[in-house]
Each structure stands twice: as C-alpha cells, then as structure tokens.
C-alpha cells in the first residue's frame, strides 16, 4: 500500500492516492494557493479505468514505486506538495531545512519533516537585508536555516538598538502566526542567511490537512517562544546586574527579593543539567 505510514496524516487527501487512481502512479499534484486566499478543494478524482491485463515488468528491487521508501526525504510525496504562486517550497532534500527544523523540533519524524517542508518556503538574505521592520504589518514567521539575524528595537530617540542575535533553528516573528497585527521590533540579517517562511495561511492549511503535524509544530513553537521569554529575562537581569537597589543594599544576593535573579539562577541550573 502506497504511503501506508503517512496515510494517518493525510485524511483528506486520499482521493489523490495511488489507490484512488486505480493503482497508477500519477504525477505530483500541485495546489496553487495565492496568499490570503483560502484553498479551493481539489478537483474530483478521475474515474478509475478498468485494469487492462498487460504484463508488467517486474519491479526493480531498488526502486519500488508501489511501496515508497519509508524515509520520506528520499521521495516527493505526491499529495503533500502545496505551492504558493511565485514561490518554491523549501524542498525535501534541503539539508539546511532538515537541520533547522530538527533543532526546532528535536523529535520530528521524517514524515512530519516532509509535510512541514511542503508549507515552508526558502528565502536567501544578504547581509543587512531586513526580514521585517518594527511596527510593520505581520505577514509570516521565519525559521532561520543558516546565518545570523539581529533583533532591533527603536530607542527613545527612534534609533534602532540591537538587543539580541538569532541563530539557526530559531523561529522569528511568530507573532505573525497568532493574530498580532504588527511586529514590535525589527529583524535584520547580520550575515548572509537562509530563512524559511511560514505564513498563517499555510499554518491553517497544515492544521486542516495534517492536524497531528500541526500540533507537533505548535507545541515546538510554544516551547521555543517560552525559551525566548526566559532568555529575555536573563538579558534584563544582566543589564540590571550592576544597578543599585532602591533600598541601597546589594541587589544581586537574596534570590527571593530579586525574582529575576532567581529566574536566572534557575536557568543556569537548567543549562548546567
């Protein structure tokens, strides 16, 4: 049975499966999905033709198209390829994507990786190029594949102030996926970089088509955002480490009277574990 291992992830796409096409292997089905437009249903499946009893060549042991390799990176699954007009998907064989998504979701399976690859799109950035600006309308989140990005916030004089660096495997601009209208800070490429774009439309599509994979991604994003929040607390604690407590005593010693210090201590223990 073709794609037996992935059939539980593709409940609504069964009409494009090899079985529904009378056992024949069809070309890849591309769904052209303009940005901001909800996906249209796929055309009805062709009526199965009667099987003509012609002798078939014996399948090669190396390439058995009726039983695809269970490792999905080795083939292009026909029914999970979703393309946006004018863009190209990250590609199942892209090692940068595989490494980056593996850092975001350490326990990801091959099938899940293939499904996510079909909804995330590669973009190459030159040093200094802006991924998004402060207060710009949100459009997509970006998974960093390679290179380094820099987060900037405007200071009181309106000058950009770099407050952190982002490395491969980090998702930036996640607010775009969850209803926030504008980015608060800016993200700029600090070096040549490769990023993978995930738009809210494609996340919604992923959730409709393969909800289990979408849930895995959501859990990973929650974990990543929580870690980023903790990191910001540590950064704030460091920035305030030399400051004077209003009472005049050393502010850095008693953990309970300094909640940020207690958090930083906790994070230090986590990192050391």
């Amino acid at each position: 049975m073709a794609g037996a291992s992935s059939s539980r992830f593709l409940p609504n796409w069964s009409h494009t499966s090899a079985t529904a096409r009378g056992g024949q292997v069809a070309p890849i089905v591309d769904v052209i999905l303009p940005l901001g437009v909800p996906p249209k249903p796929l055309p009805p499946p062709p009526v199965p033709r009667p099987v003509v009893a012609t002798p078939r060549p014996s399948p090669s042991p190396a390439v058995d198209i009726q039983r695809p390799n269970p490792e999905p990176l080795s083939y292009d699954p026909p029914s999970t390829t979703v393309r946006t007009a004018g863009e190209r998907p990250s590609g199942l064989g892209d090692p940068l994507f595989a490494a980056a998504i593996g850092r975001l979701i350490p326990q990801i399976t091959g099938v899940e990786r293939a499904q996510l690859a079909s909804v995330m799109f590669r973009r190459e950035l030159a040093t200094g190029e802006t991924v998004f600006s402060a207060k710009a309308p949100t459009q997509a989140a970006w998974l960093v594949g390679s290179g380094m990005l820099r987060v900037e916030f405007d200071d009181a004089d309106g000058q950009p102030q770099g407050i952190g660096a982002i490395e491969s495997g980090t998702l930036v601009g996640a607010e775009a996926l969850f209803g926030q209208a504008h980015h608060l800070g800016a993200v700029v490429a600090a070096s040549d970089a490769v990023v993978y774009e995930l738009s809210p439309t494609r996340l919604d599509l992923l959730e409709r088509v393969v909800p289990a994979t979408a849930q895995v991604l959501l859990a990973a994003i929650h974990s990543a955002v929580a870690r980023q929040q903790r990191a910001k607390i540590v950064r704030l604690e460091r920035a305030l480490a030399q400051s004077t407590r209003p009472g005049g005593a050393d502010a850095t010693r008693p953990a309970r009277s300094n909640p940020l210090g207690f958090l930083a201590h906790f994070l230090g223990q986590m990192e050391g574990a």
């Binding site: 996640a174 289990a212 030399q242 400051s243 209003p246 309970r256 207690f262 906790f266």
Partner: protein
Amino acid sequence: MSTASLNSLPAWSDIAVEEVRSFRRIAFDRQFRSGTVLARAGMATAGAWLLVGGEVELILETRQCGMVIDRLTPGTWINSGCLVDGGPATFTAVAIGEVQAWLLTADGYRHMASQPGALARRALRQLIQASVHDAAQLSGVVARVQELTTRLNRPLDAEDLFRLGFSRLVLGPPVGTVGRPAPGSGA
C-alpha cells in the same frame, strides 16, 4: 463572584461539549478576591492561569520594584511559558477586582499536548499568543534598559529605574485562592 464560563470567551465560544469536558479533566477553576496575588515572579507556580472573569495586572518585578506591563482581560493566559519547563513564574499577577481563572497544571499541559486533538491545538495557539505577547513586552523593557545604560554609561540607580517606568512594589495579600466557585458557575 463572577460566573463567567469558559465558552463565554470569544476564542472559546465555538468549543464543543467534549472539549469542555476534556479541559475540565486537566484544569481547575478558582476564584480570587481583589488584590490577591495569583502568581509571584521568581517563585514556583502550579501552572498557567486562563483568565475567565475579571482583570489581572501583569507586573515585571525586579529589585523590590515593579512595572505593570499589561492589564489582562478575560481570555488571556498568565505565565503561559512556565508550562514548558516547569520553572518559576515569569511575572507577578495581581487580581484587580474579583477574578475567576482556570489553572492548567504542567502535568495537565503535558497530557493535553501528547494527545492530538482540537482542544490541544486551540489551547496551544492561545498559549503561544500569550507567550509571544509577553516576550514582546519584555523586549521593549530590555531595549529601554540597555539604551539608558548605554547613554548614561554607568549602572542604573533607583531614580533611573523609576524613570524607566518601575515603581516601588508593595504586595499585601499572600498568594492563595478564595475557593472554588459554586457548582454550575464554571464552564
């Protein structure tokens, strides 16, 4: 006390009965009097709170100073990031008026996230939304602290912290709950 129910929240209005039942198995409803501290920054917390009724002030706390970074309304999660690592609360949360909230424990969260379902995806989306919002608020404070430190070229003192928006923090009532709402008043 508020009798607001789970499905009175906009993001939960279309929730199925089965989802409500599932949520009730992993979360606990509680009510708080005005001024009660739901969570204290840097201290252990039982989980994350989903605010169902009333309002809560979210306070960034440091060096006996606090800065109110948000005033939360029903439908918002409090300290959502703590569910991931089971760490201490990131923010102090104080009830403004009478408050009804649901506590999702770290165990309940792990159970929910491990079971594919509409409830898990709905809750995860909201938890991320809350975490992203909190992180953005924090980024603003970090940027202001860094900018002021750079500009003054010296450690910040109390005056500087006050200038940044911090004020002396006085928290009276201890952390605690008033009790469970009357049967039938929850979701």
